[in-house]
């Protein structure tokens, strides 16, 4: 009986964790380049408790649930045309490389700005990397265009090519907030001619509102069902104790 309670509890804790992940996905419905997060559950077999008094009805091993991992769904988000010349969207699997004080970070959020020195930066002011360092524009340059392969040029000629990195296993990327990921391994640099940058566009969040709502409904129902089940288990035990207490010797 205690075991039923504990199994239920393990599931409830996993569901709470899942709710937090769903809440974060929904909160980031409007975050450019956001990749939705999923939870992976697995069965956890409890090997210890067993009684061998009853030879024909041995105790079975118990299955608990455990949230093993969260993984990012790296599928592409919808591309929105913004008519802003410093908005870049990536068509394909690559990431922009950003130079931050903590090292190189990767992002799919292409809402860039220029800083006082004319460097192409993110909203935080971190430089966007090209194949040869940050991209810098002079005061007088206008008409910034970014080609499909990431080549940046202005009315005064080419200014470099954006560094686009792909990862064989994007799951090894760790989200660090601010729409950025940290890489554990080393990514492959896209060769010239490759890539699919679209200027004047932004990749929206790939969170699917309908799917998240469905998960939300599903997990609240599962949670309350478990709560009821655990309550019944408790009642069962109480009744048993009461009845047994009533028996007069």
């Amino acid at each position: 009986m205690e075991n039923a309670q504990l199994v239920g509890l393990s599931r409830q804790m996993a569901l709470r964790r899942e709710l937090e992940v769903v809440a974060n996905n929904i909160a980031n419905l409007g975050t450019a380049g956001f990749k939705s997060e999923q939870v992976k559950f697995s069965e956890y077999l409890m090997p210890v408790a067993s009684a061998e008094i009853f030879p024909n009805n041995r105790d079975k091993r118990l299955s608990y649930v455990e949230d093993r991992a969260t993984w990012q769904d790296f599928s592409a988000g919808p591309i929105q045309i913004t008519n802003n010349q410093l908005d870049l969207a990536i068509d394909g699997e690559a990431f922009f490389a950003i130079q931050t004080p903590e090292g190189v970070r990767y992002t799919r959020n292409g809402q860039f700005q220029l800083d006082t020195q004319g460097t192409l930066v993110t909203n935080e002011g971190y430089p966007v990397m090209s194949t040869s360092g940050p991209i810098q524009f002079a005061d007088t340059e206008t008409a910034i265009t970014v080609g499909k392969d990431g080549t940046v040029s202005t009315d005064q000629g080419p200014r470099g090519r954006l560094l686009l990195t792909t990862f064989g296993d994007p799951q090894s990327l760790v989200a660090t907030g601010s729409s950025m990921f940290r890489a554990e391994g080393i990514g492959a640099e896209l060769a010239p001619g490759q890539g699919g940058i679209q200027q004047y566009a932004v990749e929206k969040s790939n969170v699917q509102a309908v799917v998240e709502t469905t998960r939300l409904v599903e997990l609240t129902r599962a949670y309350s069902t478990l709560a009821q089940m655990m309550q019944r288990g408790d009642e069962l035990r109480r009744t048993a104790i009461e009845r047994l207490g009533d028996v007069t010797a």
Binding site: L15, R16, R17, L19, E20, V21, V22, A23, N24, I26, A27, N28, L29, G30, T31, F34, E37, K40, D67, R68, A69, T70, W71, T82, N83, N84, Q85, Q111, Q113, L114, T116, G118, N123, E124, D139, T140, E141, T142, D155, D169, Q171, S172, V174, A175, T176, G177, S179, E184, A209, E212, T213, L216, V217, T220, Y223, S224, A227, M230, Q231, D234
Partner: protein
């Protein structure tokens, strides 16, 4: 319960979004208004199990970790300085800028403010001023008896004076541009102020390198696209509702828990 706070950040973000969208819509008819948008970013992640941690003595590692995000934040509200459509007005002192520059306006405190709103007027002394009476830098004065005032693409103001056949040059309008226009501070009244982020202004005559040219008898309309704004408004509203649903769901879970006790 963390989900409650995460959903709250989402609701706050969408409120900011609706605030900015409504300001864009309110200024749909404001001369030379530049629309704003809100950029969001995800907040920090709490790592409950690190990816790459060892899972057995044989050296196998977890390919993915458990990371729980803590919501969303507003990263910035950049202004989009794309060119607005030009509208013909047939008014002599209506000037639109085709290009990246800004008019330079002398404020009463001596500071220079920047604007793209070229709906100018003359004051009692014949000086070219904004509708609020602030002087356009250069002190361009039009004599009361001048006829046929013309402002050419390069900012030269000319007029025909009585007794003369050739038009006479009365002044020169200059424009300024900034390396980072999104860094300008909005002062209201269609005026902008230079900041640390915008960089110092580069000033030159219109028509010269990347300043843009002037178009007389025209005004620049707002670059707000009503269809985009309305669809953005609808998405913001739906996103807000979704976050509210998360709050409800978290509340239901808490309720289920408390009922057990």
């Amino acid at each position: 319960m963390r989900a409650l706070y995460v959903a709250a950040t989402g609701m706050l973000a969408q409120e900011t979004n609706v605030g900015v969208i409504s300001n864009n819509i309110a200024n749909m008819r404001t001369t030379a208004y530049k629309r704003q948008r809100v950029d969001f970013q995800d907040l920090l992640y709490q790592s409950l199990r690190r990816a790459g941690s060892t899972t057995s003595d044989a050296g196998t590692t977890a390919p993915v970790g458990v990371e729980i995000g803590s919501g969303v934040k507003t990263a910035g509200t950049p202004r989009i300085f794309s060119q607005g459509p030009l509208q013909a007005t047939e008014k002599t002192y209506d000037i639109a800028i085709r290009g990246e520059g800004f008019f330079r306006i002398e404020m009463p405190d001596g500071e220079i403010a920047y604007t793209r709103d070229g709906s100018f007027e003359l004051n009692q002394d014949g000086v070219l001023v904004t509708v609020d009476g602030y002087e356009v830098e250069g002190g361009i004065t039009i004599p009361a008896d001048a006829t046929g005032v013309g402002i050419n693409g390069d900012g030269v103001v000319e007029a025909t004076l009585p007794g003369q056949t050739a038009p006479q040059q009365l002044g020169q309008i200059q424009l300024s541009r900034f390396i980072n226009t999104s860094g300008l501070e909005s002062k209201g009244e269609n005026l902008f102020r230079e900041t640390e982020a915008s960089g110092p202004p580069q000033t030159d005559n219109p028509g010269s390198e990347s300043m843009g040219t002037l178009v007389q008898f025209h005004l620049e309309a707002a670059n707000v696209n009503s269809v985009t704004e309305v669809s953005d408004l609808i998405s913001a509203q739906r996103a807000y509702e979704m976050n509210a649903r998360v709050v409800t769901a978290a509340d239901e879970m808490l309720q289920a828990t408390t009922q057990m006790i």
